[in-house]
Symmetry: C2
Subunit: 289 residues, 2 copies
């Protein structure tokens, strides 16, 4: 049992902090920008809440964060009243935000200077994965800190992997999103074509999903796509944030991502159709427009 | 045990005809444009060969074809010395060629006029699937003819589905190829990005392949892609033929396939790099160029 802080109680963070408390059995203090949600969490789970990241993090063995983007992350770490001002020597900061590799490296350096550790540890598995405590966690950082943090991370994860040095967790998450972008657009084009051709999509998927065209997305999303229901998973606004991070990093490392860039623009179209909160499979709605 | 003819002994047809003879136990007569290959097949499998499609098909219960394209298919069916001139009343012609839905409907009408049946039945699973007799077969046509042909088709198939009326088998195969086009490009961009970022691709795939980015292609092709080996599967020339069929049909049925059309052009680039016989995952080679 460790002393833990969790910063950021969004749709992901709220249940993740809950698993640290209930499944992991840890002593958890939470912080959230709007204090009401932190109070609600503390009342529900019997934990503590703090009014600032610095107060939440003080004296803790592990400090987790799951916030919106690079700027939010800088605010809760190196900002005024940020957690980095009060981290205990030797403690570990574990960032579950999907953010840039750059901010991960920057915070890793700041943590080293402060005598504690930083792990970038973005997750995949969505809200359902967070609620069920079965997320995949892609970690960047040093082996020793990873080994110490792993049993704690396990409270909300099904798969935890050390991918390389600081930033490698974020880079792995980017690959995940790049693969999904092309894959979902291909699937959307296939289903769109099948509907135009008058085929029974269920029957088609039944026959082709076990072969070379098969994917998690085909198995798990074809029914809602065929029904035109786009409220079942990761939202377009968040996907655009993630793809923006991928495309910026590609500018830096020289990778060419033509379809990823195109699909990012397609998601922009979906936003324009009122689909900011539709799920990523709504690329089909754009084709049908 | 039925009397069967098989027209076209390419990398797919040769082993498929073999399974009809050896696994199905049928009486098989083969035809091939270059007679030497038909003689070789007959010597190897103890079957018969005929010098023309008409002579091969005469009096047979089931006549299969697996040839290159629409024109080849017309030649062996309604062309001079084509099989349709000698088909027995009530017999069934099963076309395993990947062809247009248009030619399927045209040959279905011609077969009806001649008093026999036509099934369009393109396959997926590639050369390995043909050699191991575990193809997926997507069938268009009438229920009765399908039911009669199915046990014979089973000789080389793991999954056989009736997708709808004449042409529906071809349309289903098109959906399969459309899904693969976007998916493989997304995967190629992901692996390309990962290599540029200096990540261990094996480790990345190990972590992300079970989640929302996972696919048959990721599981089965990432190793050869990462190694830059593109001699492991369906060739670029054939994929371009198939995507051409998809794009033409989409022009007819009004489906919009922006990424499929783009990936078709990417494969054109790969052909220009000398990759006509490379496999479809060579989209990665184009990104790395």
């Amino acid at each position: 049992m460790a002393s833990v802080a969790f910063l950021g109680l969004g749709v992901m963070g709220y249940p993740m902090a809950g698993h640290l408390k209930n499944k992991g059995g840890h002593d958890v203090t939470v912080y959230n920008r709007t204090t009401e949600k932190a109070q609600k969490w503390a009342a529900q789970h019997g934990g503590a809440f703090a009014p600032t990241p610095a107060e939440a993090a003080e004296g803790k063995d592990f400090v987790f964060a799951c916030v919106g983007n690079d700027d939010d992350l800088r605010e809760v770490t190196t900002g005024a009243k940020g957690a980095f001002s009060s981290m205990k020597k030797g403690a570990i900061f574990i960032d579950n935000t999907t953010a840039s590799a750059e901010v991960a490296r920057e915070l890793d350096a700041a943590a080293k200077a402060g005598g504690f550790h930083f792990l970038d540890a973005p997750v995949s598995g969505g809200q359902a994965g967070a609620e069920n405590g079965i997320l995949t966690v892609m970690v960047g950082g040093e082996q020793d800190a990873f080994e110490r943090a792993r049993p704690v991370i396990d409270s909300f994860a099904r798969m935890v992997g050390l991918m390389g040095p600081a930033g490698a967790g974020q880079l792995t998450k980017m690959i995940n999103q790049i693969c999904i972008a092309g894959l979902v657009q291909g699937l959307a084009e296939g289903i769109h074509f099948g509907k135009q051709a008058g085929l029974d999509i269920e029957k088609v998927v039944d026959v082709i999903s076990k072969g070379a065209a098969g994917s998690w997305q085909m198995e798990n999303r074809h029914k809602t796509m065929n029904a035109g229901k786009y409220d079942f998973g990761f939202a377009v606004d968040w996907m655009r944030k993630d793809l923006g991070i991928c495309l910026e990093e590609a500018d830096r490392n020289g990778a060419k991502l033509p379809v990823t860039a195109l699909v990012d623009q397609f998601y922009k179209d979906v936003q324009g159709m009122g689909g900011k909160r539709w799920d990523t499979s709504s690329l089909l709605a754009r084709l049908e427009k």
